[in-house]
Symmetry: C2
Subunit: 556 residues, 2 copies
């Protein structure tokens, strides 16, 4: 039986229309970083009008048509917000470029997406200009904000000034009614292996995700809020907060390129946001800044931390030293990114609440979850049985963008046969739906149908007073498939032997998880960003470059 | 360009699965009204298991198949919640019957919907039993809770006990994946004229509406909340709050049939809900009860009032005398019902905030609004220009249910040519998107392409010290189309004449709105529920039964 409800699509243009009318008085404030100069403030009404002008400019002047890609290489600012609204609303696809990527990856991504236009902040022209000769699809470069344009001299693309381009154009646009399942925005994951992979968000997924961000169980954004999105708009759409804010009438404080602790502290004290969102490292820096030079940050009711696991000590320090409540959240590019949010349940003690806050959080209704068991099937939600997290939902990717002329593709290691996303994260789910992640799937040791957490073993080993660093990797084993190899860096002058370290572990983990293979190494190999580089250890082991000792209990 | 997101339908079964797993520990508590007896508490996990049992019973035992209608004639209780989840999730259509309707309307509605099963509370058997001989489609009556079953003796339908029917059946159900645009629930409007009209909510509309109810700009329901839905579950699905609560993990306190002020006050003090929802009359009674016999109602962070305009004095009294913040909301059966919610904007003074709270509220992103101007076209949002409110959105009706074998129908007076719902309400919208309703469209006076608010004129007239009551109706006018006729009831012994009353009005409304036709009457005719019955006045005028005096200014 058909319902009698109206069939109205969930689109970004609806968010634009709503925000710029019902919430026309809400504001987007961009920090200029110029001492003594007030930040630039625009109302949602003005942002909406300028978004219409931008759409006219892109369509009428630059010939953007259909679902062509318009890229942004921009900081968080009002002009980026205008692009966020205008490009999807006109039916084109917003492609946010991650300005922190290596140049060759950036060029690969632009070419893969076949971007026709790039809107770039003036301060980022030096980053873009050298790439342009490798970007044959890019016909137009639109420069927003001050910057040195000399590097663009002689480039094949036409160069425009953002303000000149939109000036004088109509401040209204008859936004087309697109199919809610059409692509609205494109974002590439920057995997450490293989080519970057594009996730094409739909109007529907952005709309539903925005509603979820504004729900009480997520960030509860409302018209009385002022959001500081420190997380970049090129990083999973700043976690969806700009679209969500425009939907809820939440004003925004845009930090532009001033992401260092001192200006962040200053803008919080001056403009008084009520909620902020950032990755842990940025907040670690902000904490040190606030500890050193106290500021009034009492306007913040919450700070959302995601993108990487937040150290519980950081959460506690913010709360205890600065009265800031941290909301821990988990997600990834493929999940739009809202996957879980860690609000403690009602009626628990303060200490229990801290336990819940340290988890990745609880799933909202639109994110269905299951834990693939190492031996096949699925694990129970008992808070103990670990499995690879798989998720399903209307804002979860079901494939990757194949490029301008290609079909989307679904690699088996990323998607299950029945279409769920394999997150590559291993963890447990408690009976009340809280997710705790322990490992990346590639870092667990698959031993006889069970999984052993390398991270868990490492953390225990590094708790031994003689151990400076420890890295545990899976190595092939005839009987069990894989077994753990423990590589250990001892502190200077420390003398602990393998049996002692193994006995130390035996008190802390199940017997079948204890490594039999041990090697002392001078230092754990690291990647360029300082993470353990386990590929190197596995290779060293395979090539016989490690001095491995077999250690088992006499009683075994 | 197609997005790469998963295509996952928004369905009630997803709400059911989510609530009964992630929030399995949340609870539905039903008030029993038995002194000294604890209310009956069930976890969401138990409710989910019982919903599965109910679905098995309906399908396997009673043969409910496809999109057949299963009706409920029930109070707010846990069993009704089970029906709310099980019936749509199995692909059937939940039809909530309004137990306050006259018997003939109730029978008409059951027959129009072709209900196959009716689940009825034992206490309501005396209401249902006499109707059964007129209900040929009803094959099964399922009785839940204690009651006298004698009236059902000899009825043609098979009679079942709810608990016996579901007992022992499997506690899991392989819910089918239905199309999100299929009907999930059916609710009839009880219009004062014509046959009742059915609105068939879709899975999609219920899902999106639930997300909106849980947003910060609506009621912000979360897992830490305990909701008291006083508004009946047969009244626009208790404003969508049961499904929204199950989605958010919000526990519920169900009042069953104990809707009188004293038990409500007692259950609030005892079970300590954090938020309640009810129509103004119920809360008027609760206020009197609390004033007379103070109770601890401090657990309530908010009370949502809708269904009829809430007198500002009632809001203030709750806040000032009992510390309860009232949230005013507007909607109708055709709008699921969430149309507007009156949260004052940030940064206004306390007195300004009261002004905003007294409006119908602000539109959420999914409800698009426009004001049809009396002369055609649409009114600006200036807070002054009045028009008939038309709305559009994914949880707004676009037609009415035509009955089991009929196509949906779209009467012109209810839907615009381009598919918007004509609400029949007249009002203004402020530049910041706040709706103020002043009249029903049928009560405004359409004078020379402008609208005159009869309610506005009446309120001003009743502000005159000599006036006891006043009713203003539209009467035909050769020059202007319609003009206002003011009928006035003077207080005993009062002597004010028409010129004085007209001069009093002239200080308060625009000159062109002043009535020229006046009549003194002994009392304003009333309907059975005490509302002004303007049909009678219009008929008396047409038939020359009123003693009408023409009054104009000497200067005109």
């Amino acid at each position: 039986m058909l319902s009698t409800m109206q069939d109205v699509p969930l689109t970004v243009s609806r968010i634009l229309r709503h925000g710029s009318t019902v919430h026309s008085g809400s504001t987007v404030t961009t920090w200029t970083g110029v001492p003594g100069q007030a930040p630039v403030r625009r109302t949602f009404g003005e942002v909406g009008a300028r978004a219409a002008q931008l759409a006219h400019a892109l369509g009428d002047e630059l010939g953007v048509d259909g679902d062509q890609r318009v890229a942004t290489l921009m900081w968080n600012n009002a002009e980026h917000m205008e692009a966020y609204l205008a490009i999807p609303s006109m039916g084109a696809v917003l492609h946010t470029l991650n300005l922190r990527l290596p140049a060759d990856q950036l060029a690969w991504i632009v070419n893969h997406a076949a971007d026709r236009v790039i809107i770039v902040n003036g301060s980022l022209v030096p980053l873009l200009a050298p790439l342009l000769p490798q970007l044959p699809t890019v016909e137009h470069v639109v420069v927003s904000g001050p910057g040195d344009l000399t590097p663009l001299a002689g480039c094949a693309a036409r160069v425009h000034d953002y303000e000149e381009l939109i000036a004088g154009r109509p401040v209204a646009y008859d936004w087309p009614e697109v199919d809610e399942r059409d692509a609205a925005a494109l974002c590439y994951t920057s995997g450490t292996t293989g080519d970057p992979k594009g996730v094409a968000y739909s109007h529907r997924s952005i709309y539903l995700h925005s509603m979820q961000v504004n729900s009480a169980e997520a960030f509860a954004l409302g018209a009385a809020d002022l959001l500081l999105p420190v997380v970049p708009m090129f990083h999973v759409n700043a976690w969806g907060t700009p679209h969500a804010s425009f939907m809820a009438g939440t004003s925004m404080l845009m930090p532009d390129r001033f992401l260092q602790p001192a200006p962040l502290a200053e803008m919080i004290e001056t403009v008084r946001p009520t909620i902020a969102a950032a990755v842990p490292t940025i907040f670690q820096g902000l904490l040190a800044e606030l500890d050193a030079r106290p500021r009034d940050v009492s306007s913040l009711r919450s700070v959302v931390i995601g993108g990487a696991a937040c150290p519980p000590a950081l959460m506690r320090a913010f709360q205890e030293r600065h009265g800031l409540r941290v909301i821990h959240a988990w997600g990834m590019t493929e999940t739009s990114p809202l996957g879980t949010v860690a609000h403690p349940p009602a009626g628990v003690s303060e200490e229990e609440a801290w336990g819940y806050r340290a988890t990745q959080g609880r799933f909202p209704a639109s994110v269905e979850a299951r834990l693939a068991a190492p031996g096949g099937g699925f694990q129970p939600w008992d808070g103990e049985s670990a499995g690879e997290l798989e998720v399903r939902g209307p804002w979860i990717a079901g494939a990757y963008f194949g490029g301008a002329a290609e079909e989307p593709f679904r690699p088996d290691d990323k998607f299950s046969e029945d279409g769920w996303l394999r997150t590559g994260d291993v963890g447990t789910i408690s009976p009340d739906g809280f997710l705790t992640l322990t490992d990346r799937a590639k870092d667990v040791i698959k031993s006889g149908g069970e999984w052993i957490s390398s991270v868990d073993l490492e953390n225990h080993l590094m708790g031994h007073p003689d151990v400076a660093e420890a890295a545990v990797v899976a190595v092939p084993d005839e009987k069990w498939g894989e077994r753990p190899l423990a590589t250990v860096v001892l502190k200077e002058g420390a003398t602990a032997g393998y049996p002692e370290l193994r006995a130390f572990l035996a008190e802390r983990v199940a017997r079948w998880q204890l490594p039999e293979r041990w090697a002392l190494i001078p230092a754990v190999p690291k990647t360029s960003v300082g993470k353990f580089d386990k590929k190197v250890i596995r290779r060293q082991y395979a090539e016989g470059d490690l001095d491995v000792t077999d250690v088992t209990d006499a009683t075994e």
